[in-house]
């Protein structure tokens, strides 16, 4: 108790120095939390992937579609419980800057496979009844002020033409990590228009989403599915949803790695700043440490005193940084919602930031503690006055 009192009073002794160091630490931890959240947001699709979902796509490339007839064949594979399908529509809403994912999905089964998209039953039924209905994520609806029954116009680019959709459902995420900025409409509406205008492009799905009964069978089932279409003109590649999502992230691996490295560089810089502060502080107090040793206090007490002060500064700065991270992340997430639709500070990031704060405090105290421990009492006292 007395030690804690001494630590707190020592911490507040050089108020300006302590305040500036705490603010520096806060900025560093804030930057660390934001950068980690950017990385997490980048991997949001991977994190949200379900272990009992596989994705089957064209073995050559995702841009080549697969015949819709594959669905029935995949359904026959042992261990498969349901199959959904989707097409990447792209398109433009207002202009190119208003980007959000737009997909044509099989209306009967798609949402069964994605329970993380929570849709009121009546809205789902309305979607399933109306050919040009669409279901949109909650954040997107809020952003554009859409209401149920509104008509939403898209200009097609992959599928040229003017497309009109009626908003019949709004989904919300079952968890905070669910992307609520997607736009889904019915695959059969897309196919119907294609049959009229571009018949050679009708009857294809961009990819299949396969629900399996046992995630441990994913390897064998993937092989079985791909074997079905071996040597056909449209061979398939089946992988877990996680691997499928990783395929997108892998393209930007270098950027993500750079962000990760920068987040740790920030931590290294603040470690040096705090170490410098603690070294200066300890040097000024060497005679006090000598007095404490003279009175009989050992190196353990000095370690607790110095590291306690260092960890208090680091933790106060860390907590301030973490507290600031929430409003900053909120604003940042709002501004970047098109690129990073899921932007939430994960509890793991906070845990990591807290651990790092404590570690920084401990490491910054290492050198001054070592010096205090090695100090000769008589020499330190002879410099007093």
């Amino acid at each position: 108790m007395e030690l804690i009192k001494l630590i707190l009073r020592n911490t507040l002794r050089q108020r300006l120095r302590a305040t500036l160091t705490i603010l520096g630490m806060a900025v560093a931890i804030l930057a660390f939390c934001l950068l980690r959240t950017v990385v997490d947001a980048w991997y949001a699709g991977v994190s949200a992937a379900s272990p009992n979902r596989l994705v089957t796509r064209n073995a050559v490339s995702l841009i080549f579609p697969l015949p819709i007839s594959y669905r029935q064949k995949i359904l026959q594979v042992a261990g498969v419980s349901q199959v959904a399908y989707a097409n990447w529509f792209a398109g433009v809403y207002i202009d190119e800057r208003h980007f959000f994912p737009r997909m044509a999905v099989g209306p009967e089964t798609f949402f069964d496979l994605f329970p993380e998209f929570v849709i009121p039953q009546d809205q789902l039924k309305a979607f399933q009844k109306e050919r040009n209905a669409c279901i949109v994520g909650r954040k997107l609806v809020q952003k554009y002020g859409w209401k149920l029954g509104d008509t939403i116009n898209l200009t097609g680019n992959i599928y040229p033409g003017d497309w009109q959709f009626v908003l019949r459902g709004v989904y919300s995420g079952a968890t905070k990590t669910t992307d609520e900025t997607q736009f889904f409409f019915r695959w059969d509406y897309l196919d119907e228009v294609l049959r009229k205008n571009m018949v050679h492009r009708s009857g294809y799905a961009g990819w299949y989403v396969v629900r399996i009964r046992n995630p441990f069978d994913s390897g064998a089932i993937s092989q079985s599915i791909d074997a079905l279409f071996k040597n056909s003109w449209a061979e398939t590649l089946t992988e877990t949803e996680k691997a499928f999502q990783m395929g997108f992230v892998a393209m930007t691996d270098a950027i993500v790695m750079a962000v990760r490295i920068v987040s740790f560089v920030v931590i290294a810089v603040i470690l040096l700043v705090l170490a410098n502060t603690m070294t200066m502080t300890a040097r000024e107090r060497m005679s006090e440490y000598a007095v404490l040793k003279t009175l009989g206090f050992g190196n353990r007490f000095l370690f607790l005193l110095i590291s306690g002060e260092s960890m208090t500064i680091a933790l106060l700065g860390g907590m301030l940084g973490m507290a600031l991270a929430f409003p900053v992340a909120h604003v940042f997430g709002k501004e970047m919602s098109t690129l990073l639709p899921v932007f939430h500070i994960h509890w793991k990031t906070l845990f990591f930031a807290t651990t790092l704060s404590l570690a920084i405090g401990l490491l910054a105290a290492a050198f001054p503690t070592w010096r205090a421990a090695r100090m000769r009492i008589a020499s330190a006292l002879s410099h007093v006055g």
């Binding site: 007095v291 404490l292 003279t294 009989g296 000769r376 009492i377 006055g385």
Partner: protein, 234 residues
């Protein structure tokens, strides 16, 4: 020169036997103490005098266990402190020695009472007991009305009296004082010396004091003069 004003001679509580101590300054070795022998009886008040660099503070530090000799034995209250490890020596200091420094060396973030309480943190006492002991020591030095003042709010003389209270609060075997009046005005110096004399006479505390001041040395029962690392018998 050694002057002995005591009439009775109880057994020595401090025995310094053939002590040598030198320091290195760069490549040069400076011999500070050269074969010092000294016996101090219990309840004595000893002044160590001598010019700067004569080795008096070094001798005091060795007796107090905050430095180690190169050669020789140091027996304090029957313990050869030259044989103690760092941890045991720290424990020994906490139990047997009270320190008074020239510049008081109080912790500025602690009040007078908390400074006096500090050495008691190493004892198995409750918070209430520690407070009681510290209050008693502060009353003894006449500072019961300044207990919650911080060092910066006290005069030099008052700070030194707090330091004396801190030195006696554990009831140590001996009190070592290094130039206790060196940083004080005449009035405060007189008060501090009177206090040390009172501790020696009324409470039979063994005191070893390093001083340049002949008036301070006058309060001691024994005066030892050091010059160039040896006692000057002339």
């Amino acid at each position: 020169m050694t002057e002995n004003k005591s009439s009775l001679a109880p057994p020595p509580i401090v025995q310094v036997e053939n002590i040598y101590k030198s320091y290195r300054r760069g490549s040069q070795e400076i011999s500070v103490l050269r074969g010092i022998n000294l016996a101090i009886t219990e309840g004595n008040f000893v002044a160590l005098m001598g010019p700067s660099g004569s080795g008096k503070t070094t001798l005091l530090n060795l007796i107090a266990g905050i430095d180690r000799p190169d050669e020789g034995r140091l027996l304090v209250a029957g313990t050869d402190i030259t044989r103690l490890g760092e941890l045991d020596l720290a424990r020994w200091r906490a139990h047997h020695v009270g320190f008074v420094f020239q510049f008081y060396n109080l912790l500025p973030v602690l009040s007078g009472l908390e400074n006096v309480e500090l050495p008691l943190l190493l004892r198995d006492l409750t918070r209430k007991q520690r407070r009681e002991h510290a209050m008693l020591a502060l009353e003894l030095v006449g500072l019961q009305d300044r207990v919650h003042h911080y060092p910066r709010e006290l005069s030099g003389g008052q700070q030194q009296r707090v330091a004396i209270a801190r030195a006696i609060v554990t009831d140590p075997t001996l009190i070592v004082a290094d130039e206790p009046t060196g940083d004080l005005d005449k009035t405060s110096a007189t008060e501090v010396l009177a206090l040390l004399e009172q501790l020696n006479q009324e409470f039979s505390k063994t005191i070893i004091m390093v001083t340049h001041d002949p008036r301070a040395a006058e309060k001691a029962k024994e005066i030892h003069h050091l010059d160039k690392g040896v006692f000057n018998n002339n």
